[in-house]
Symmetry: C2
Subunit: 209 residues, 2 copies
């Protein structure tokens, strides 16, 4: 059940915190603040102090809810993963034909890229400066296996000789769209990827006729 905290904002020295945030738990406020800051400025670039200032929370609350920054980072990435997975699943579920279900992923990318504060894939951004055994690297690995199984499942549903090969191509197009959209601030990359994906599908399906 929801834990409601009464409005204690009266008499508080005001920071960036907006009033609605005040009704939520400290952990929730920390997580949304961390998501904002980590995603827009980078995990290593943002210190604990920035996060708690943004959340309007005491430092003790952070170390009460999380074991440390790594723990917070882990939860940040896990949330990013699950939210995106839900969104993609919803996009896919809107279609029944295997081919349309594949293309729906690129449409989901297009909607993502169109968001004003889009700044690339959180995992791609984190992995560049991360150590191989860091929480970032671990979260990225599970994210990548999700991407691969997603496309392999979708590729297996269409009648094609080598689903793995098709899946590899689709993953590459997915990655290309994401990287392209970030580095060039080019949201139309999703449409380009989708167009090429159709080409690949035509090519993989036709020859078996």
């Amino acid at each position: 059940m929801l834990q409601l905290y009464l409005d204690r904002s009266v008499g508080y020295r005001e920071g960036v915190t907006r009033p609605e945030q005040r009704r939520r738990t400290a952990k929730e406020r920390i997580l949304t603040a961390a998501d904002d800051l980590f995603y827009s400025e980078g995990i290593r670039s943002v210190g604990i102090d920035r996060v708690i200032a943004r959340a309007g929370v005491a430092k003790g609350s952070l170390y009460y809810s999380f074991t440390g920054k790594d723990d917070l980072v882990c939860e940040y990435l896990t949330n990013r993963h699950s939210k995106w997975a839900e969104r993609v699943a919803a996009g896919i579920a809107a279609h029944t034909e295997p081919r349309a279900r594949i293309l729906a992923v690129y449409d989901a990318l297009g909607a993502l890229f169109a968001e004003p504060d889009y700044r690339g894939c959180a995992f791609m951004n984190s992995i560049g400066e991360a150590a191989p055994d860091s929480v970032e690297a671990q979260a990225t690995r599970t994210f990548r296996t999700w991407v691969h199984t997603l496309f392999l499942d979708l590729a297996t549903a269409v009648d094609v000789a080598e689903p793995q090969q098709l899946a590899d191509a689709l993953v590459l197009l997915y990655d290309g769209a994401v990287a392209n959209a970030q580095m060039d601030s080019a949201p139309e990359a999703a449409r380009t990827a989708r167009r090429i994906a159709e080409l690949v599908l035509d090519d993989e399906v036709r020859p078996s006729l």
Copy 2:
């Protein structure tokens, strides 16, 4: 002309420094050490002290040759850019037919991915945690314009209705291969990208017949 420094390694407390490095200028040693460390562990993850220890050089030498870490980072990225541009240009120059010249870029990627210490695109890695006005961001912007003009030039050489559209697709495949190869440690991504590029070329050229 070359500035030769006599072997002063006698009696030096030994670090990681190998003997051949001792004959080069401090600036050169710093740059190769920085390249090794920045590329393999990330710019922000590697401190000045690590770099000078690896180079076997005094801290003063670094601030004698560079104005600061940013300056070193800038030169590191610039070198990465020019070396890669040379390599790609060499690969392209080996062919005369426009189509083959395009595919040569993906072959160059394949050779790059096959290197044992490949760890992705230095620019993609740096940009994730970089501020919009940082030297990393600036170097990345010039790198990206190089990528775009490269493919646009190549695309214009083939007889196609919309070279820009073809170039966009080729850039996306390039980015996809790079991202894919890094995140999944999958050097075969270059072949996948090449395969799809052939498909795109077939599609863009044929309809005008």
